[in-house]
Symmetry: C2
Subunit: 421 residues, 2 copies
Amino acid sequence: MSSDEFRPLNESSLVEYIIATPALSSKLGDVSQLDNLQIKEVGDGNLNFVFIVTGPSGSVVIKQALPYIRCIGESWPMTKERAYFEATALKEEARLCPNHVPEVYHFDRSMCLIGMRYLEPPHIILRKGLIAGIEYPLLVEHVSEHLARTLFFTSLLYLTTTQHKRAVAQFCGNVELCRLTEQVVFSDPYKVSEFNRWTSPYLDKDAEAVREDNFLKLEVAQLKSTFCERAQALIHGDYHTGSIMVTQESTQLIDPEFAFYGPMGFDVGAFLGNLFLAYFSQDGHADHENDRKTYKKWILQTVAETWNLFHKKFTALWDEHKDGPGEAYLPAIYNTQELQQLVKQKFMNDLFHDTLGFGAAKMIRRIVGVAHVEDFESIKDAGKRAGCERQALDFAKMLLKERRKFQEITEVLSSVQQLHS
Amino acid sequence: MSSDEFRPLNESSLVEYIIATPALSSKLGDVSQLDNLQIKEVGDGNLNFVFIVTGPSGSVVIKQALPYIRCIGESWPMTKERAYFEATALKEEARLCPNHVPEVYHFDRSMCLIGMRYLEPPHIILRKGLIAGIEYPLLVEHVSEHLARTLFFTSLLYLTTTQHKRAVAQFCGNVELCRLTEQVVFSDPYKVSEFNRWTSPYLDKDAEAVREDNFLKLEVAQLKSTFCERAQALIHGDYHTGSIMVTQESTQLIDPEFAFYGPMGFDVGAFLGNLFLAYFSQDGHADHENDRKTYKKWILQTVAETWNLFHKKFTALWDEHKDGPGEAYLPAIYNTQELQQLVKQKFMNDLFHDTLGFGAAKMIRRIVGVAHVEDFESIKDAGKRAGCERQALDFAKMLLKERRKFQEITEVLSSVQQLHS
């Protein structure tokens, strides 16, 4: 099919489409009964249309990309080819970490349409769970597993140069989504832009200070270069707490439409940065029934354990596959335990600093850039919201600028508590 | 034409090919007289067949890539597709810097054949001129111009992300040549390899010391990662003094078959590193007629002036195009003279350290790796040769490990003179 055949689906054309597509209809039950499918449009994200379709014996999720950004409208065009990169990344991630990525049942490139597993209740978006103050005992284990496996196995620690460059070339095609990240994460917050917003007037001076902080802008330039130039591994590209669905037992990474070969720290940092945003928003959700103090501790502990367990799992994969196909560190060169240890330390230390830098940049853009997070937005009292946001912003600025001074995640947490006890 | 039509040319089939190809025959004169073309095979490089074809009114160079590495033979296969990347890079470089790149008249992808300008006498390979002790008064001006223009205009300082990622993807196809560099520059010299050689027995201990230097191997790993992952600009990929043809008036960069999007410092470093090799070889070429002392000073001066003039030209291009299409440093963010100055300083300082690191790695591999340089090889007395090589090797190891301590090229030159006065 050529891409000329693209047409946006509505509820009725969707039913026809599903009935004509066995890979989808077979999940829903007897086709003869499919004319009374239940369809719910649930796309609360920024970009796409998402339908939950329920038949007599099951449900599927149908996601269709349209050639613009949904939350802004046709005035901000955006290639619908992103669906191809999302489907490709979902399949690759599912291959590497099947327990934490929804299965793709069907992909139609010309329709920019993905049919995938419906994540049944009580799955909710992690961000909503964090706002509600819910602890997830397996979150650390699952996220660190997903990060370690998807990043390790798509890097030169495991792939040959030939495999790696082929994959890099393929994902270079997802350039429009990369450009969007460049703009909204690394550029707009640091300049006057019609898209920026913040809790005004409270944060007017804070937003201005971001735009006038030379040292901050110098450091952001370096992170942006790394983002644009360093094809280290297949990254999800949008690894925030809104891209994760959870229950007490399950953790599922969704929406990798920003996927490309980029720096590992961008994914790890996005997750930790969004946990920090959740942390700083907690005072805005506290009430006399729950002061959120215990929950704030749980969030910080989750930050620390995620990094530490990611570190452990990632280096364990490295050890396990040190004689594997990866061409970065040949065993004939890195041929003693001591040297292998040194190499890993240096690698993980650099990755830690990238993680802190990117995490901080992701925090800043959520406070003074175009797209905000529900963690703060759901705090109705603007003055209280601004107070929480300012603490997060101050912490993020410090972290971005001083990231190389930190050697351990516990040092980062101490600095949070100094700033905000 | 499909690639099935590939056939290696000999002198007689080459004549037929040229007569059938107006883009070539038109450079040589009256076609009716072309049956007595003069043909000379001159491929003294490591990889390809190169013919100089002379007709009644002109000459052309014909370069054909075969599916293996010429100097090793069919036992080391190497994609002949490299001719496509060479032709593409030659055209791109010629567009950006026409005075210093030979014009491509004809490219035949299925035959892996490039027809290009013949660089007439007295053009010689720069390396041979350096061995002969010849000064080139315009070399610095020309090389710094070629480096500055080809690197600046293919980087995100000038290109949009969209243009950049498209070009990165295209050159990912040149992966076999990248792998060859990875092996011979960043891997083999640091391990036991059947391909390595050195002036034995003199340098046996020196070669062993390279293989057992943990700190050196740690630093080489980082350079290798940068080489494999960082798509900063379209680099020539083999920018040594054997890839440059010179006269007193002309400087021409040839043989970019290793071209891909990589770190800028790899090209700048290759040139400076090979000048250092020339420098350290001079004592082996000294005789009672010429002690080469003046010439050694000229080489060091050439190193310093090349970096300094490259720096000047590159930052001048940046200033000139700061409001251009490049998306790395938006003028709305980097919006004061002071900040623009800071950003450039940081960028050039990082590039300087990359340059020193890659330059040092290129020196080391020429002394203990597979492919040596005529600068040393032409010193007949093995003991004397080893003495020169050891000085070069010791300097290169120091430079690779300590590169971040240097802020100015003059400091590097002082350290050469300390080591070797």
